[in-house]
């Protein structure tokens, strides 16, 4: 209940700040709201787009939430996303037509898990073995991964028939996820739901999950109970990275059918907010991913209608996160206002 109130408040703040911004750039605010509302909720494409944008956010939110259950910050989902797309594209480009039907896409999925997982295990290993701050290392690796993708797209993997655009050739249909009927919604959404359930099951129904949550709540108690925290840290980071890698898989195999730049428009970073809004609960991720998807699609509508830049999404995300953080004190503690400040 408290959370719903806070989210509505955050949403209101976004509307107010947008109002001011629209006025500043000479857009009629009410007209803009009307267009955005209609485009998203009253058209078929709006609903489709909400579910399409929600898919990668579910993966990345789940990835961040899983690590956060152990009180570890994985803010490298963006890079793990990219390394997932790298690994799966390698398979799609090299094994196309050489595998029996259905095998190719499965192999791509596995490779995305491995690519993202290995990339995610780097900050995990450094944290577990040497105690290196995982926030900084996981974040810095995002830039390394992005440069690696650029290296491939501007080099070996560039499609010769692309007029020098940094894109690979289009994958064959065997490397594409099926869509639902005539919509743009693809099977990635189902995979996302499956992984949400898997993670929830692991966290609350298995010993491994108990160890993860125990270590998060009280590392000392976990150590005395015989939990190998080092191994667990690496494992959780690898799993977290693997899920983020799946976001890349679902975007490339479900929408673009090729590797290109800007496949992630900040989905990895948004995963942090999705997880925070869900209080790191896998099932909550479903709802917060949907909520953040509304923000993404709104920004997209504004981009198409008014030519506003898509980076607006980041501003909204900052405002939402600040609002949620700022009100947490009111929802988590019972305050006596008398000694509140200073």
């Amino acid at each position: 209940m408290g959370r719903a109130l806070v989210l509505s408040g955050a949403f209101l703040l976004v509307l107010i700040i947008s109002w001011l911004f629209f006025l500043a750039v000479g857009i009629e605010p009410l007209a803009a709201y009307k267009i955005v509302g209609e485009e998203i909720f009253l058209t078929k494409y709006g609903w489709q787009d909400l579910l399409v944008k929600m898919t990668p956010l579910m993966f990345t939110g789940l990835a961040v939430a899983l690590a956060a259950q152990m009180r570890q910050w994985n803010i490298g989902a963006e890079g793990q996303f990219h390394m997932g797309t790298f690994a799966m594209t390698w398979v799609a480009l090299h094994f196309d037509g050489k595998l029996p039907d259905g095998m190719l896409i499965v192999l791509m999925l596995i490779m995305a898990i491995i690519g993202g997982g290995l990339w995610g295990s780097i900050p995990g290993y450094l944290k577990a073995r040497f105690g290196v701050n995982e926030i900084i290392t996981s974040l810095l690796l995002n830039y390394v991964a992005a440069a690696w993708i650029d290296h491939l797209l501007f080099g070996a993997w560039r499609d010769p028939g692309s007029n020098n655009f940094p894109i690979t050739r289009e994958f064959s249909t065997a490397a594409q996820l099926p869509n639902f009927g005539n919509t743009s919604i693809h099977a990635g959404l189902i995979i996302a739901f499956i992984f949400v359930l898997i993670v929830a099951w692991i966290l609350w129904k298995t010993q491994l999950g108990f160890k993860i949550r125990l270590t998060g709540d009280n590392p000392d108690a976990a150590r005395y109970a015989g939990v190998n925290i080092r191994t667990l840290t690496i494992l959780v980071f690898a799993a977290s990275g693997a899920i983020a890698g799946l976001a890349g898989f679902s975007e490339v195999a479900g929408i673009h059918y090729r590797l290109q730049q800007n496949i992630s428009i900040g989905y990895g970073y948004t995963g942090i907010i999705v997880a925070w809004l869900a209080r790191n609960h896998p099932l909550g991720v479903i709802f917060s991913a949907f909520f953040m998807s509304i923000i993404f699609v709104s920004a997209e509508v504004l981009q198409i209608e008014y030519g506003l830049p898509i980076s607006m999404v980041y501003l909204y995300q900052g405002i939402i996160l600040f609002t949620v953080l700022g009100t947490e004190i009111f929802t988590e503690y019972r305050l006596r206002i008398t000694r509140f400040l200073l």
């Binding site: 911004f21 910050w73 803010i75 450094l126 040497f130 105690g131 290196v132 701050n133 926030i135 900084i136 290392t137 974040l139 810095l140 690796l141 830039y143 390394v144 440069a147 690696w148 650029d150 290296h151 501007f154 080099g155 970073y269 942090i272 907010i273 925070w276 506003l308 830049p309 980076s311 607006m312 999404v313 980041y314 501003l315 909204y316 995300q317 900052g318 405002i319 996160l321 600040f322 953080l325 700022g326 009100t327 947490e328 004190i329 000694r339 400040l341 200073l342």
Partner: protein
């Protein structure tokens, strides 16, 4: 030799925004407040500096406005994590989102605009010293100002009562509180002062490094600065060395290509980030081995007044 000196000059230039940001981070973290919003604050500083420069063509106004704007934005960080006691890490990330969005949104119309970059002013006498002269004393005003800031930060933190109090806030806020010092006020001061320095670091990008506007102009340097604060052991003077070391890595990125060495430019782009991870790991290992605790003891901890510790 000539090439070598050129690289060192470039290292100082590339290291300057890192230096400003690291100093800002040091001041804030010495008071016990982590600022992960450096990238966002630098972007705000860069944007404001560029806009003011376009309109006034006055470097002083541009830098002052950048410092002011970043200081104002860091007030949000202060309110959220000091007054409302939220997680400093999450609040810092929100700050990065906020700054990235702000600069992207308002910078969109500025793409392609250019400003006149700061010109070099050799310091009379000093610039004639071999090697050191051209490397350190033939730069623009902001580089000299960064030297001054290093000295000022050091003097402030170690030689003044204010600095002693700031450092104490990062070590034992409950003791300071019992002595009648306002933890809130000192930490706020450090967050805002730090934010202003970080903003000046951002301003250096459009005013000197890339005198035109590109989206995400700071390119992740704010995050390198976050790591540099640790690398510099929370010390303003060591921040100088750290910033120039990473400036060197960034300078190599540009110069190796000119030399005709056949490395993919994208690998060179990775270099500073990989180096940061490597150095951070080595520093952490070293600290673990020697068992020294250089990190401010209360860093990142929420301070609840009147609670037993």
């Amino acid at each position: 030799m000539e090439f070598f000196i050129q690289i060192l000059i470039a290292a100082v230039v590339m290291g300057t925004p890192l230096l400003f940001a690291t100093l800002g981070g040091v001041i804030s973290e010495r008071a016990g407040v982590i600022n992960l919003g450096m990238e966002g604050l630098m972007l705000v500083g860069a944007l404001v500096a560029f806009v003011v420069m376009l309109n006034t063509e006055n470097y002083f106004y541009a830098v002052a406005a950048a410092a002011l704007a970043s200081g104002l934005v860091s007030i949000i960080h202060g309110v959220v994590c000091l007054m409302l006691r939220a997680s400093q890490i999450a609040s810092g990330l929100a700050l990065t989102f906020f700054g990235t969005g702000l600069s992207g949104l308002f910078g969109d119309k500025l793409m392609g605009e250019t400003v006149e970059p700061l010109s070099r002013i050799p310091i009379p006498g000093l610039h004639a010293i071999p090697v050191l002269g051209p490397v350190l004393f033939n730069h623009d005003v902001l580089v000299y100002f960064s030297y001054v800031c290093v000295g000022l930060s050091w003097w402030l933190l170690y030689k003044t009562r204010l600095g002693l109090n700031i450092r104490s806030m990062g070590e034992a806020p409950e003791v300071c509180d019992s002595l009648g010092l306002s933890v809130m006020a000192y930490r706020f001061f450090a967050v805002i002062a730090g934010g202003m320095l970080i903003g000046i670091g951002g301003a250096y990008f459009p005013l000197a490094l890339t005198p035109f506007w590109v989206d995400g102009i700071t390119g992740g340097r704010g995050w390198i600065a976050v790591a540099l604060v640790i690398f510099a052991f929370w010390d303003p003077v060591k921040a100088l060395g750290g910033a120039y070391l990473f400036g060197l890595a960034l300078a190599l990125e540009l110069r190796l290509q000119i030399l005709g060495i056949d490395i993919s430019p994208y690998f060179l782009k990775m270099l500073p980030f990989v180096l940061t991870i490597l150095v951070l790991t080595l520093v952490t290992i070293r600290n673990n081995r020697r068992g020294i605790q250089v990190m401010p003891a209360a860093l990142g901890k929420v301070f609840f007044r009147g609670e037993k510790h």
